[in-house]
Amino acid sequence: MPTSAIEEWRYSDIDELDLSDYSVFAKTGISKEVESALAGPILEENRNALIIKTYNGIIDPGFAPPKGIILGATDPEDISHDFSAADVFSYLNALLASPVTLTIGADYDSSRPVVVMRYLDASKTAVFPNLCLKVESNASAQVVEILASPPESDLLAIPVTKIFQEADSELEYLLVQDLGPSCEMIGHQASRLMSRAKLRSMSLVAGGSYSRLFTTSTIAGQGADSNLNAAYFGSRNQVLDFRTLQEHSAKNGRSELYFKGAGANESHLVYSGLIKVDKGATSTDAFQTNKNLVLSEGARADSVPNLDIQENDVRCSHASSVGPIDEDQQYYLESRGIRPEIVQRLIVTGFFAEMADRSKIVGVRSILAALAAGKWKEFQK
């Protein structure tokens, strides 16, 4: 707190201002965060995590950033122009959000994961979570973002996450979307990687009635490496919709995308992705895989991979699959004496467990298991 002894506060009554007389205009009672089943493993298995709580998009005013992290309310100036609004929703977010900006420096203790708990419980209201992560040169960090709401909530979430990685930085990022079943979400996550920066991201999507996530990653500096993963499990009549863009605008870059979904009941999975290699982005490696497991007659999955290659010296591939549980896998496990419904549960759980090797964040394996088990139960109802 300033005092009147400081020149610019001189002559004022600032000493008499007692902040404890006032509360901030936003409820910050986020003890309910534990209601998010999927957040549990992250919090349990990362006891040393730096937890940043936000409530309906407003940051907990009690948060004091530790050494190596700068907390801001606007995007760092040098990067704001790099992220233009992708559509009307991200534009609205830009207008209406209260941004949380974290600049992570090389002196941050990278063994301490940063967990941004975004708890939303507004009713029939649109909320605009906004997170901007800047990872400075040579810095290394793990960031987990959890979007959670109580089961009865019926809000519209329009989250935007922007990741800017300076040269030689490394980031492990995890998004956990565990919104209530009546919520809707239209989200964006955009990353921009400078030279030799490495990103590995994992998005786990469970909740909402309609959930759309638009993921873009730009290889903006030579030799950058972007690894994008997602796992999602649709049940009820959920629509889980994923759009991706891997854009290579610098040489020697690498991007690898692996999105995996399972659809049960009357759910609908959508994947549409594009690899775009700009002129000049030579020696690019870019891969894109989308796999869908369709578990019920009423469920469906659309998968549309695309390539737009403007350069010759590149290695690119895309693969997609949509289908029921593999009959050979089913028979193989049944021939070991396992009851068919247990076989199905094993195969579906395994389908997701396989993703755990694609993130280094502790707790991912447990979350994937919880996601598969919870959804499986819902499916079997």
């Binding site: 896998q329 193989y332 049944e334 021939s335 070991r336 396992i338 009851r339 247990i342 076989v343 759980t349």
Partner: protein, 261 residues
């Protein structure tokens, strides 16, 4: 003395699509016995193994399969496994995200068997069979070599302890060391647990490791002749020619097939 179990196949006929592949098979296998079924390509060897295990897509048009008093044809694959039958697959299937121990645990769960010693049993068998321990926690068969896949099948067999095992071309894709280890474990199971074995193979080399009590020759869906182990040696010399099929029975040391006489 443990109880003697009997696997009895009588006049078994089966179609794949419209085509009759098995045309009346008769065979009786008892606990502790090793029977070999040898036959050229397309004789119905793999069809027999899948029909025994109950793989969907095969239509049984006649005959019966009984394990002791149980009519296996009325059961689905998992129930046949519970009744005591095990199939060592020719091509073990990759199951991403499911480990050996998880699968065995699920099998024990289905059968309400006590799994408290499962982990130790799996470790002991993996060691005994030369199956790399670091693969135990990995996805079943994913990125396993040919030898690792078959050793993995054998770990499952050894832990599940079935009454009868069908080995479907267990020698395919195996080097001689792996073949020896796998055969040794099968033989031990026939001695220690009185496992009955039906070894299905094209080539005679398996039968040098796994000495069969009986050899049956399967040609065009029928057992055309049966005999003692000497039948395998005889076939090695003549190939399947006397049954009207020009295919060799032995492979030379380099793994290249010898041409038949």
């Amino acid at each position: 003395m443990s109880q003697v179990h009997v696997l009895r196949i009588e006049n078994l006929r089966a179609n794949v699509g419209q085509k009759e592949i098995l045309r009346g098979i008769d065979l009786e296998l008892k606990s502790g016995e090793v029977h070999a079924i040898m036959g050229p390509n397309g004789s119905g060897k793999s069809t027999l193994s899948h029909v025994l295990m109950g793989k969907p897509g095969y239509e049984v048009t006649g005959g019966s399969i009984h394990l002791d008093g149980t009519d296996l044809l009325s059961l689905s694959a998992w129930e046949r496994a519970q009744a005591g039958l095990f199939l060592v697959s020719q091509y073990p299937v990759e199951v991403p995200g499911v480990s050996l121990e998880e699968a065995l645990d699920a099998a024990f769960e289905t059968q309400s068997r006590d799994s408290s010693n499962l982990h130790q049993d799996v470790l002991a068998e993996a060691n005994r069979l030369g199956f790399p321990l670091e693969l135990l926690g990995r996805s079943l068969n994913v990125d396993f070599s040919g030898g690792e896949k078959k050793r993995n099948e054998m770990v499952q067999l050894a832990v599940l302890r079935p009454r009868f095992a069908v080995l479907d071309e267990i020698d395919s894709g195996l080097d001689i060391d792996a073949l020896r280890d796998v055969s040794k474990r099968v033989e031990e199971a026939t001695n220690d647990d009185q496992l009955g074995v039906l070894a299905i193979t094209h080539y005679s080399r398996l039968l040098k490791e796994l000495r069969p009590d009986r050899v049956h020759v399967l040609v065009r869906g029928e057992i055309v002749t049966s005999g003692g182990p000497e039948l395998a040696s005889q076939l090695e010399k003549t190939g399947y020619a006397e049954f009207g099929v020009e295919e060799p029975v032995a492979m030379d040391g380099t793994g290249i097939f010898r041409t038949s006489q």
